[in-house]
Symmetry: C2
Subunit: 292 residues, 2 copies
């Protein structure tokens, strides 16, 4: 069993990006600038956004954090999105999800200029993904594909089962791993809450990806010997032994599943850091797509 270490892989990516920034400086080119909008005080969102800002600093990107109280009206948020669209100093920006219930996430997502949509959530970027056209790939699926690539895991002709069909992970990942690319060319089955015989379906997977947010959902009995297992779950569960009172728990029962795998991602330190690395890759790409 080999650990798919997202932390070290993402460190390597950050190093490469930092070098690219240095090179841009030497060439007198603009330094990438990422902005993040954070609404409210959700613990998870605060952690993610802080990690993104920190990654920017490490790499040498500029970053701007814009915060709103969770009572912010939708119009104010839309106006901010519009002003970031027009702000030439900002190359890419994200609106951290989830948003409070009174705000329509899809409306916000669609208001972002697709050329600055470094989270890859805008419909035009999702459509370009289907058509294999240049655009921004959604950060988490792109991070998973990059983790697979950099660990030289063969995907062509492999059976891949993805559990969970969310707009931001499962569904786009099913397309990225199924299309004619490397990594790619898997035979992908997308499973979800209405799937029957899920255990049996998972047992046939050479590559099993869990993205449902249900701790310990995937048990050893569901996993084929020598499978590659990728755990996208990051649920906070109480943990009195930690000072902060919680720890992250994946969708996979790691202790019993790991011994059966050829590769497996830990939680934390697997997919999470790769999502942030993807966002950084997309931010640099935002400049390149514009020929800056």
């Amino acid at each position: 069993m080999q650990l798919l270490d997202g932390r070290s892989t993402s460190e390597q990516i950050r190093k490469e990006l930092a070098e690219a920034v240095q090179q841009r400086k030497k060439d007198g080119k603009k330094i990438p600038h990422l902005a993040a909008i954070l609404v409210g005080n959700d613990g998870g969102s605060l952690t993610y956004v802080a990690a993104k800002v920190k990654a920017c600093e490490q790499i040498g990107f500029e970053s701007t954090l814009i915060r709103y109280d969770d009572s912010v009206p939708e119009e104010i948020l839309l106006a901010k999105v519009q002003s970031l669209n027009e702000d030439k100093s900002i190359d890419g920006f994200i609106v951290q999800l989830p948003l409070p219930k009174h705000i329509d996430e899809l409306k916000i997502t669609q208001a972002i200029d697709p050329m600055k949509d470094v989270d890859g959530f805008h419909p035009v970027n999702l459509g370009k993904m289907i058509l294999n056209l240049p655009g921004f790939l959604p950060a988490t699926p792109a991070g998973i594909v990059e983790l697979i690539r950099r660990n030289q895991i063969k995907t062509e002709g492999k059976k891949c089962v993805i559990i969970g069909r969310s707009n931001i992970v499962g569904t786009p990942l099913s397309i990225m791993l199924g299309r004619n690319a490397d990594p790619g060319n898997c035979t992908v089955t997308l499973a979800h809450s209405k799937t029957k015989n899920l255990h049996e379906i998972c047992q046939s997977a050479d590559i099993l990806i869990a993205a449902i947010g249900q701790p310990d959902f995937v048990t050893a009995e569901m996993v084929k010997d020598r499978a590659v297992v990728i755990d996208v779950g990051t649920t906070r569960i109480e943990d009195a032994t930690r000072a902060r009172g919680w720890r992250l728990k994946g969708d996979v029962k790691f202790d019993e599943v790991a011994p059966k795998c050829s590769f497996i991602t830990p939680v934390p330190g697997g997919v999470g850091p790769m999502t942030i690395a993807s966002l950084m890759i997309n931010t640099l790409k935002a400049m390149e797509l514009k020929g800056k």
Copy 2:
């Protein structure tokens, strides 16, 4: 075994659309107007476009056919697309594919105003499909889903295998049948040229859809008893007994597969007429989306 009769189902849809047109006339509303651009003299394309124009006439839509020689420069075609985008009398239009090799199909597809893209090929419409947002669904997959709906075939929790991952059929259909909708909620496996153990995978399918354009590819041995089989293939093969010298052949070896099925589409008369019906539905929708 019951035949999924696309011809009679699409006739029913045309009748409903004709009634909607009559109602629009009574209400003093605009009559839908579809334009089609046809480049060159490919036999298949000629047939399809003629059928689309004829469907418009039957329903009472206005239609315009614009033809170019297959040497037409890309700029001329792009300029025409632009002028149709701006033409307020045209509600929707299509550029019949395939196009000659010197023209970039994806460039043309992306030049079409998404609000007039009744074929549903523009990236923004594909992305909206993923997000389940209002937009145009690609005509062939939408026709298949409509055929399933109108024949009251249950899809929730069913295993569906789609053979062929094209941008216009297999890939979008995999999303439409897998998402949380009715029809939908299938557990979809998307198979393709790199898939291994294809026979075995097909044997597990409650719903098997072939969209590869290889006559007689799907044999009885690949089909589960009582499966629903949908054949998207329409390859022209020589047939000296016909005056025109050819007939259409599907991807499924109909004679041996049909007896095993609960439902099966014939070729011709299955998916083909439904594609045209979808295009007509999209053209009416183009007006409704604009509030006309």
